[in-house]
C-alpha cells in the first residue's frame, strides 16, 4: 500500500506537509531516523509515512537526507520538475542536524 | 599565390606544422624521446596563437586532457613514444567508444619497456591496432618522409573529425628526427574538414543518433546541448545500457562507420610496380630503404618494385592484394619480427610467395641488406 494513495480527510494534512514518491523510495529509513521531531514512521511495508503531522515543522531535513529524492516537504509542486519554488514552501536551510538530530532510535522497523 | 618556399624541416617539426595547418588548437603532452620536439614546438606556437597548451603529469593525463578538450570543441593532439603509448591505451579505448575525435602521434622507438630510446623501431604496429582492450576499429597512418609527416598529420585531423574517432599517426625515430628539404603548402591551400555539429534545437538533440552516415554529430560541451558522455556502452541518448538489442547495434555502428569507407582509408604509394617481378611491401622509414633497393636493383636490370603503405589500419587489403597478384615474390621488410608481414600473408591467400625481413638491432634496414636477402632467396 502506498502512503500516497487516496488521501482521506484524516491524512490530508500529511499529504500537504510531506509528499512521498514511493516509486523512487528504497525504504532506507534515513527520513524516519533523522526526523528531529520524530514525526515520521513506517507503514507496514517499510515505506515512510507522516505518522504525526502535528509534530512536523516542515524543517526539510528529511528531504535533504533522503538519498533518493523520494520525498518532498512543503506543498507538493504541481509536477516534479517545475522549476519555480512554490509559494508557501517552508524550508529552513540553516537547520542544523547536529542540533536537532535525535539519539539513535531503536530499530523497530529494521532499516538498513 | 606565392610559390611555397623550400625549408629544411625535421619530421617532428613537419608534424607540428601539419597539425597547426589542420586547425589543431589544443595540445597536452608529456616529454619523451623521440617525440619531445612536437611538445616543445606546440608549447611555443599555441600560446602565441591564443590556444591552450599544457604539459601534463604523465601520458595518461595528456590523453585525458585531449579527450576533455575535444569534447569541449577543440582539435586536440598529443604526441608520445612507446612507453607513453602503452600508458595511453585505456583512454584511447575511451576515445574510441565515446567517439571523440583527436590525433595521437606515436613516434616509435625500440621496445618493449624503455628499450632503445634513441633508436629506431617499428614494434608498435600491432599495438596501435590492438593495444586497448575490447574490440574496436582503428585508423593508423604512417609517414616515411618529412613531407608525408605534414600531409598525413593534416589527414589524421581530417579523418578524426570526419569519422569522429581517434586517429594515430605512427612515426618512427628516423622519420621524426630526420631533416629534409620540403616545400609546404600555404595554410590556405590545406583542405581542412570541420566537425559536424548538431543543427537541431538542444531539446531535439539525441547525441548518438545518426543519419545514414553512421557518424553522430558531436555538440561541444557548454553550447547548450546537455548530454552524457561515458565509456560504458551507451544507447542513442548516451546513457549506459546492457540491453542486447542496444549493445549489438552500437558495436555494429562503431565498426560500420569505418568499414564502409575502407576504399577511402586505404592509402598506398606505388613505386616502379607495373612490371615488377619482386615487390617490397614497406612502410615508414623502411620504405626509404626499399625504394633505394628498387632503384639500385633496377639499375642492374632486376625487376623490383615497391608498395609503400601510408595507412596501416585499416589494413589496405585491396591494394596489397593487387600488388601481390602476378608477382614472383613479395618481401616485407620491417623493424620488428613480422607485424605487417603477418597481415600481408593473411591477405596473400596463395597469390605469391611472401617473405618477411625483420630486424631489431636499433638501426635502419639498408638497401644492401634487402638486395642481399633477395640474392639469398633466389
Amino acid at each position: 500500500m502506498s502512503p500516497k494513495a487516496a488521501p482521506t480527510p484524516e491524512n490530508k494534512a500529511a499529504v500537504d506537509k510531506v509528499s512521498f514518491y514511493s516509486a523512487w523510495c528504497k525504504r532506507c529509513g534515513n527520513c524516519v531516523a533523522f526526523c528531529p521531531r520524530k514525526a515520521l514512521g513506517h507503514d507496514e511495508w517499510g515505506y515512510p509515512v507522516l505518522a504525526d503531522p502535528e509534530r512536523c515543522t516542515t524543517c526539510g531535513l528529511c528531504e535533504m537526507l533522503c538519498p533518493d529524492f523520494a520525498l518532498s516537504v512543503g506543498e507538493a509542486p504541481a509536477q516534479p520538475g517545475a522549476a519555480a519554488v512554490p509559494k508557501g514552501s517552508r524550508v529552513a536551510p540553516t537547520t542544523s542536524p547536529e542540533r536537532l538530530a535525535p539519539e539513535p532510535a531503536p530499530k523497530e522497523n529494521g532499516h538498513g | 599565390m606565392a610559390r611555397p618556399r623550400a625549408r629544411l624541416l625535421q619530421g617532428n617539426e613537419a608534424i607540428s606544422l601539419g597539425a597547426l595547418a589542420a586547425g589543431c588548437n589544443f595540445f597536452a603532452g608529456y616529454p619523451i624521446t623521440p617525440a619531445s620536439e612536437i611538445t616543445e614546438i606546440m608549447s611555443r606556437e599555441l600560446p602565441a596563437l591564443g590556444h591552450p597548451f599544457i604539459q601534463m603529469e604523465d601520458e595518461i593525463a595528456s590523453l585525458g586532457a585531449c579527450i576533455g578538450a575535444s569534447l569541449a570543441g577543440k582539435k586536440a593532439m598529443t604526441a608520445t613514444s612507446g612507453p607513453g603509448f602503452s600508458l595511453m591505451q585505456e583512454n584511447l579505448g575511451y576515445a574510441a567508444i565515446a567517439e571523440v575525435p583527436l590525433v595521437l602521434v606515436n613516434v616509435m622507438r625500440g621496445g618493449p619497456s624503455t628499450g632503445l630510446p634513441t633508436n629506431v623501431a617499428q614494434g608498435d604496429v600491432q599495438q596501435a591496432r590492438w593495444g586497448t582492450h575490447g574490440d574496436h576499429p582503428a585508423i593508423v597512418l604512417c609517414p616515411a618522409t618529412v613531407g608525408q609527416c605534414f600531409e598525413l598529420t593534416v589527414m589524421a585531423f581530417n579523418w578524426a573529425e570526419r569519422f569522429r574517432t581517434p586517429v594515430i599517426l605512427l612515426g618512427d625515430e628516423v622519420v621524426a628526427h630526420m631533416r629534409e628539404k620540403v616545400a609546404l603548402p600555404a595554410p590556405e591551400e590545406v583542405e581542412v574538414i570541420e566537425r559536424r555539429q548538431p543543427t537541431v534545437p538542444p531539446d531535439w538533440y539525441v547525441p548518438y543518433k545518426t543519419d545514414g552516415s553512421l557518424i553522430p554529430r558531436l555538440a561541444s560541451l557548454g553550447q547548450g546541448y546537455r548530454y552524457h558522455v561515458t565509456g560504458l556502452v551507451h544507447d542513442e541518448r548516451g546513457f549506459p545500457t546492457r540491453r542486447p538489442d542496444e549493445v549489438e547495434p552500437f558495436y555494429a555502428r562503431l565498426f560500420g562507420k569505418i568499414s564502409r569507407h575502407f576504399s577511402d582509408l586505404e592509402l598506398v604509394r606505388a613505386f616502379e610496380l607495373d612490371d615488377a617481378e619482386v615487390v617490397f611491401i614497406a612502410y615508414g622509414c623502411t620504405a626509404r630503404a626499399a625504394q633505394a633497393a628498387v632503384r639500385i636493383g633496377r639499375e642492374k636490370g632486376l625487376k623490383l618494385g615497391m608498395l609503400q603503405l601510408l595507412s596501416l589500419w585499416p589494413f589496405p587489403r585491396r591494394p596489397v592484394e593487387e600488388a601481390l597478384t602476378g608477382r614472383r615474390m613479395a618481401l616485407v621488410p620491417e623493424l620488428n619480427m613480422g607485424q605487417i608481414s603477418r597481415e600481408v600473408k593473411r591477405v596473400n591467400n596463395g597469390r605469391t610467395q611472401v617473405l618477411r625481413h625483420g630486424k631489431m638491432d636499433g638501426n635502419m634496414i639498408t638497401p644492401d641488406e634487402l638486395l642481399n636477402r633477395l640474392r639469398e632467396v633466389k
Partner: protein, 282 residues
C-alpha cells in the same frame, strides 16, 4: 540565501534518465547529489555553464543524473578530462566528483598535480573509506585495522587524509563535511563553486553495504551518527587539545587562500607570447 525547494532540485535532475538511481538504499551519494544540486541552483549558474565530470566507481555514476553536460571518464582520470575541458572553455564551471579510491589511489597523481597547478576545477571527493562498487576492497583511506575484502586480517597501511593532502599540494580551497552534516555540506559546496582556483570538498559518506557490513558498523544511520560524534566544526577543533582530538576530525573550511590560478597565468603568458610574435613579424 533563499530556501531551495525540492522542485528546484528536480529541475536539475535529468528527466529522461531512469530513477531510482543505481546506489544502495541509504547511500550517501544520493544525499551528496541533492546537496550539490541545491548548491548549483543557488549559485546562479545556468545549466549550460556547468560540466560535471566523474571517474569510475559508485561516484562515477553521479553525473549521469544531472541535467548538465556530463562526462563519465576512466578510473582515476576525471581531473585530466576536466583539465582539458576547462582549458578549452575557461568560461565553464567544471566540477569533478570522485571517490576516495578514484581520487587518491589510481588518480592520486592527478589530484596533487591539479592542486599544484591551481586550475579552476571544483572537486568533490566522496570518501567512504572503501572500494564500494567492486565489493569492499581497501582504499587509501581505509582506517588501520579495518577489515576489507582484500584485508581479511585487518588493514595494515596508514591512510591518507584527503583534505590535508589537497591542502599541502596547493589547493586554493579545502573543506570537509559529511553527508550527515547536510546543511553544512550545502554551504561548503556553494563556497566551492564560488571560489576561483582548484578547490576540494571532502565528503565523508557511509558505505554500509560493504565497509559497514565487514566491520560490523551497523546501518547507514548508525554510520552517519558516528560522523556526528566524531566530526567537530573547525572553529571548535582549533580549541581542542591533542587528547580531545583523538578519533575526531575537523569539519568546515580548512583552507581558503588567494593565489594565481593557472587560467589567469596562462592568459597572461599567452598575451606575452602573442606580443613577442607580433614584434618579430611586424
Amino acid at each position: 540565501m533563499p530556501p531551495v525547494h525540492r522542485s528546484v532540485v528536480y529541475g536539475w535532475l535529468r528527466h529522461d534518465k531512469k530513477f531510482p538511481h543505481v546506489w544502495c538504499p541509504g547511500c550517501g551519494l544520493g544525499i551528496l547529489l541533492g546537496s550539490l544540486l541545491r548548491a548549483l541552483s543557488q549559485s546562479g549558474l545556468d545549466k549550460n555553464q556547468v560540466v560535471l565530470v566523474s571517474g569510475i566507481g559508485c561516484s562515477g555514476r553521479l553525473p549521469v543524473y544531472v541535467d548538465v553536460g556530463s562526462v563519465h571518464t576512466t578510473h582515476g582520470r576525471a581531473l585530466t578530462f576536466a583539465t582539458g575541458i576547462k582549458l578549452a572553455k575557461p568560461e565553464l564551471t567544471v566540477i569533478t566528483v570522485m571517490g576516495d579510491g578514484d581520487a587518491t589511489a589510481i588518480g592520486g597523481n592527478h589530484l596533487i598535480h591539479a592542486a599544484r597547478r591551481n586550475l579552476d576545477i571544483k572537486t568533490v571527493i566522496i570518501n567512504n573509506q572503501t572500494y564500494g562498487m567492486t565489493g569492499g576492497q581497501y582504499s587509501p583511506t581505509t582506517p588501520l585495522g579495518a577489515k576489507a575484502t582484500t584485508a581479511p586480517y585487518g588493514h595494515i597501511e596508514p591512510s591518507f587524509d584527503i583534505s590535508a593532502l589537497s591542502a599541502t599540494a596547493g589547493a586554493s580551497f579545502v573543506a570537509r563535511s559529511t553527508v550527515y552534516h547536510v546543511t553544512q555540506l550545502d554551504q561548503l559546496l556553494g563556497q566551492l563553486i564560488a571560489k576561483p582556483g582548484f578547490g576540494v570538498v571532502e565528503v565523508l559518506s557511509p558505505c554500509h553495504t560493504n565497509f559497514g557490513r565487514q566491520n560490523r558498523l551497523g546501518s547507514q544511520v548508525d554510520m552517519m551518527l558516528e560522523f556526528k560524534k566524531r566530526g567537530v566544526r573547525v572553529e571548535r577543533w582549533q580549541k581542542l587539545g591533542p587528547q580531545e582530538r583523538e578519533g575526531r576530525y575537523p569539519l568546515g573550511v580548512l583552507v581558503d587562500r588567494q593565489q594565481p590560478s593557472f587560467d589567469d597565468s596562462y592568459q597572461a603568458m599567452a598575451a606575452q607570447a602573442a606580443a613577442l610574435r607580433r614584434e618579430k613579424q611586424p
